[in-house]
Symmetry: C2
Subunit: 151 residues, 2 copies
């Protein structure tokens, strides 16, 4: 593979980052998963300017990660909810959280614990291959240059 | 939980993002996993200014994700290699790639396929709980406000 053949649209990581590759965007998504839905709540929690918050929410809506739902008619008000595409990002956040818990420790007590609904116990996220059950990491996975199917 | 009690240092997602929460940073890491080690290679592949690239590499080194290794003495030259902490980010990238492959499709052929070293087959990343084997998603996991251990 020649390195400069890696065009960014074709790379799934670059495509993923085009949706969520921004710190504020990820924190907005975190808050969505914590149940936040309204503009003023996001703003109060994140300490972000209205301009930046409106921009990130608009982009997430445009990308199909959030949708707006009216909750009041007069004056018109809406809230932001995760779409199925947005909900599917939860494992990505959990994966980063799992990494940070192991590799970026802190003395501060966590604001929340991520627990299994089934057992009530803290989760320990591990990424596996759905086909083989193998753990996925730099030892078990490699990037093979893509070859088009022969005619 | 009062929302404004969520301080950013305590939140593992925010801590994770303080290391990798930037699009260029993630693309630099992708290239590391693809085997890129030298400044000029990163720059050529990413089409990024030397200033921005040097900044991101310096931060990743300061955070312990990359380390510098000399490869030539005269003139002195070094390359960038992933530390164990850095290698541990691979599942986070794979998780985002898995999401993008499902939810941000493209007509462009992928530059590479992520395949199992064991089987040579494309991987299908799924996040599970190491303790119970349950798939982790918004239905199986919730964020419970943290309570300090009593006395």
């Amino acid at each position: 593979m020649r390195w400069n053949e890696l065009n960014e649209e074709a790379c799934p990581l670059a495509r993923g980052l085009s949706v969520i590759g921004d710190r504020w965007t990820m924190l907005v998504l975190r808050d969505c998963f914590l149940g936040v839905r309204r503009f003023d709540q996001f703003q109060e929690r994140l300490g972000i300017t209205r301009h930046v918050l409106a921009d990130r929410l608009r982009k997430l809506e445009a990308k199909g990660v959030l949708r707006r739902e009216p909750y009041q008619a007069n004056p018109p008000r809406h809230e932001y909810r995760l779409t199925e595409k947005g909900k599917a990002l939860y494992p990505v956040l959990l994966s980063l959280i799992g990494w940070a818990n192991h590799h970026v420790p802190t003395e501060a007590p966590p604001p929340y614990d991520l627990v299994s609904r089934e057992t009530g116990q803290p989760i320990e996220p591990v990424l596996i291959d759905d086909r083989t059950g193998t753990r996925l990491n730099h030892r078990t996975v490699y990037a093979r240059p893509h070859e088009d199917d022969p005619g």
